[in-house]
């Protein structure tokens, strides 16, 4: 048994180690060390908790058993998961943090003595408020992440689900959460606690169903942030510094990522979470575009164009992840490099289904990270490049974001692919992208459409290059 003061100091140390874990991610070289700091911080926090309780009775064995069960499942998932499924995995993990927060809150509500919070039916007011916040946010994180997971996994349709009075219903539910929390604090009724949890689960569900598949980068970041605030709420209840620091870090991290993602789409956060984007526009555009002429080519044409280029910029998007084409792409690039062609990669902030999704896939395919550039770093290079090879991306290259104020994506920063001498577009069909808008780039003089599965097409191009 160690004193409360000593354990508080250890919790502080693990909080600092968590800060260093995030700090390490400022560059790939320091990132592995950062992750190591994070692990040490976690080991310290868990060990100190055991020592400060000092109760090594029968319960202790069960703690280890449950820890082990979770650990084995977690390790198994971590080694088995394909990199393309990373968005689903992260959404799944968020839901677990949320649920764990809810369970800890329930536990503390039912047995406040164990946490030094007063007694059942007579919990300290401050603790009860903190606990409710942790539980509410945790429950929203849980059910919201489940929906995000189902949408990403394709079990649930990625298109927005909207109905009349949706926003009013959500608003009423949010207000009822505030009222019930107030009543809970004045009556300490456990029934109200359960109702509060039920409404929170429901609202998490309702908040995410109207948000479409391509807005998932924002949703995942937002849920990331929520899971942090939930942890912080519980941290206040438990008076635990490590948990408060971590909650604040994770909360602000998710918030910043949401902001970056929204900016990448030139949309306000509220516009995204109110949802419904991409549902209505689709019907508007499906009429006339079939008439415009499109130049389409095959792998041979593409290989010819690239072979005669001196620099090629690759623009990957979600379609590359779906087709699992990252390895085939890297092989194509290797062949190009053998022919002394300069190849770089351009990544739009919202390419893929989560922040940094494309970077991880390219890293998996052994693409060195110093060949991969962000939008601002590379956008000026398109004008000097010979070929832009767009694989699985669409809206992020659409010039109407600059030229057409009527366009739903007007103002969104785009990759200036159209400035390239020629553009190769690997796509399965002419169908519009997620935003439901036609891409003028398809009909440009210097664009060659390659209608095929992204993986198959890149493999064929490689064959033709050799």
């Amino acid at each position: 048994m160690i004193s409360a003061n000593l354990s508080a100091i250890f919790y502080l140390i693990s909080g600092v180690l968590f800060i260093l874990a995030l700090r390490g991610l400022s560059s790939p070289e320091t990132s592995r060390q950062g992750n190591f700091f994070g692990i040490i911080g976690m080991v310290i926090a868990i060990t100190v908790t055991f020592l400060s309780i000092g109760n090594f009775s029968s319960g202790f064995a069960y703690v280890l058993i449950f820890l082990l069960i979770g650990g084995v499942i977690g390790a198994f998932i971590a080694y088995k998961i394909p990199m393309t499924a990373m968005p689903e995995l992260v959404a799944g993990f968020h839901s677990l943090v949320g649920l764990a927060a809810v369970f800890v809150a329930i536990s503390a509500f039912l047995n406040p003595e164990a946490f030094n919070l007063g007694s059942l039916g007579n919990i300290k007011l401050g603790s009860l408020i903190e606990m409710s916040i942790g539980a509410v946010v945790g429950a929203i994180t849980f059910s919201g992440s489940i929906i995000a997971f189902l949408k990403l996994q394709g079990i649930m349709s990625g298109s927005p689900i909207t109905f009349k009075g949706q926003h009013l219903l959500n608003a009423l539910m949010l207000i009822s959460i505030v009222i019930i929390t107030y009543l809970l604090c004045s009556t300490q009724s456990s029934n109200l606690f359960w109702i509060l949890l039920a409404i929170s689960f429901l609202i998490g569900f309702l908040l995410i169903i109207p948000i479409g598949g391509a807005d998932m980068p924002v949703v995942i970041s937002m849920l990331n942030s929520y899971s942090g605030w939930a942890a912080a709420g519980i941290g206040f209840t438990l008076e635990n510094t490590a948990l408060i620091i971590t909650g604040a870090l994770v909360g602000s991290s998710g918030a910043i990522l949401s902001y970056i993602m929204c900016k990448g789409m030139n949309r306000s956060f509220f516009n995204v979470i109110l949802g419904g984007f991409g549902a209505t526009e689709k019907s508007l555009t499906s009429g006339s575009k079939e008439l415009k002429p499109v130049k389409s080519g095959n792998a041979e044409d593409a290989a010819f164009l690239m072979k005669n280029a001196s620099s090629v910029i690759i623009v990957p998007g979600y379609g590359m992840a779906v087709a699992q084409a990252q390895h085939a792409l890297r092989e194509m690039v290797d062949t190009l490099k053998k022919n002394d062609i300069k190849v770089t990669y351009a990544i739009h902030p919202v390419a893929g289904r989560m922040p940094g999704h494309m970077n991880v896939l390219l890293a998996e395919a052994n693409v060195p990270y110093d060949e991969v550039f962000e939008l601002e770093e590379i956008n000026n290079d398109f004008a000097n490049a010979d070929v832009a090879f767009v694989i699985g991306a669409n809206d992020v290259t659409n010039p109407s974001a600059k030229t057409d104020p009527q366009s739903p994506i007007y103002g969104m920063p785009i990759l200036d692919v159209e400035k390239c001498k020629s553009v190769l577009f690997v796509k399965r069909s002419l169908s519009p992208g997620y935003a439901g808008i036609d891409n003028d780039l398809f009909y440009k003089e210097n664009t060659l459409m390659l209608f095929a599965d992204a993986k198959k097409m890149t493999e064929d191009i490689t064959k033709n290059l050799n």
Binding site: S14, G15, I19, A21, L22, R23, L25, S26, P28, G34, G38, M42, I46, Y62, V63, F66, L67, G70, I73, G74, A75, I77, A78, Y79, M83, L89, V90, F93, L96, L99, A100, A101, V104, I106, S107, A114, F115, G126, N224, S227, G228, L238, N240, G247, A248, V250, S252, L257, I260, K337, I347, P349, M354, P355, G356, N359, V360, A363, D370, E374
Partner: protein
């Protein structure tokens, strides 16, 4: 008059938000996915609360409603801790620099 300990915790919280703000802005965009998985892992330090809850049952009665929720939370958080750190490590191991000898 004494300062409520809550104020100290609030101070830690607010300052940590600021630290988080500056630290996360300095994270390179190419590592945003590992950032999410590692924040997942560290936010599972909530396991601290789960352990307290799990051990709160008394000697003759290890399992009561409260401790069962605690035990379940331990497993959930452990999935995240192991899964989160390991998958982050797996991802970070893939980020390599260009080889000079080509």
């Amino acid at each position: 008059m004494e300062i409520d300990p809550f104020i100290f915790r609030l101070s830690i919280f607010i300052l940590s938000i600021f630290i988080g703000y500056y630290v996360v802005w300095s994270v390179t965009p190419s590592l945003h996915t590992p950032l999410m998985s590692v924040t997942n892992a560290i936010s599972s330090v909530i396991i601290v609360g789960a352990i307290i809850a799990g051990l709160a049952g008394n000697a003759e009665n290890t399992f009561n409603t409260s401790s069962i929720f605690g035990f379940l939370a331990i497993s959930l958080a452990a999935i995240n801790i192991f899964g989160g750190f390991l998958v982050t490590q797996r991802m970070l191991a893939m980020y390599k620099k260009k080889k000079k000898d080509k």
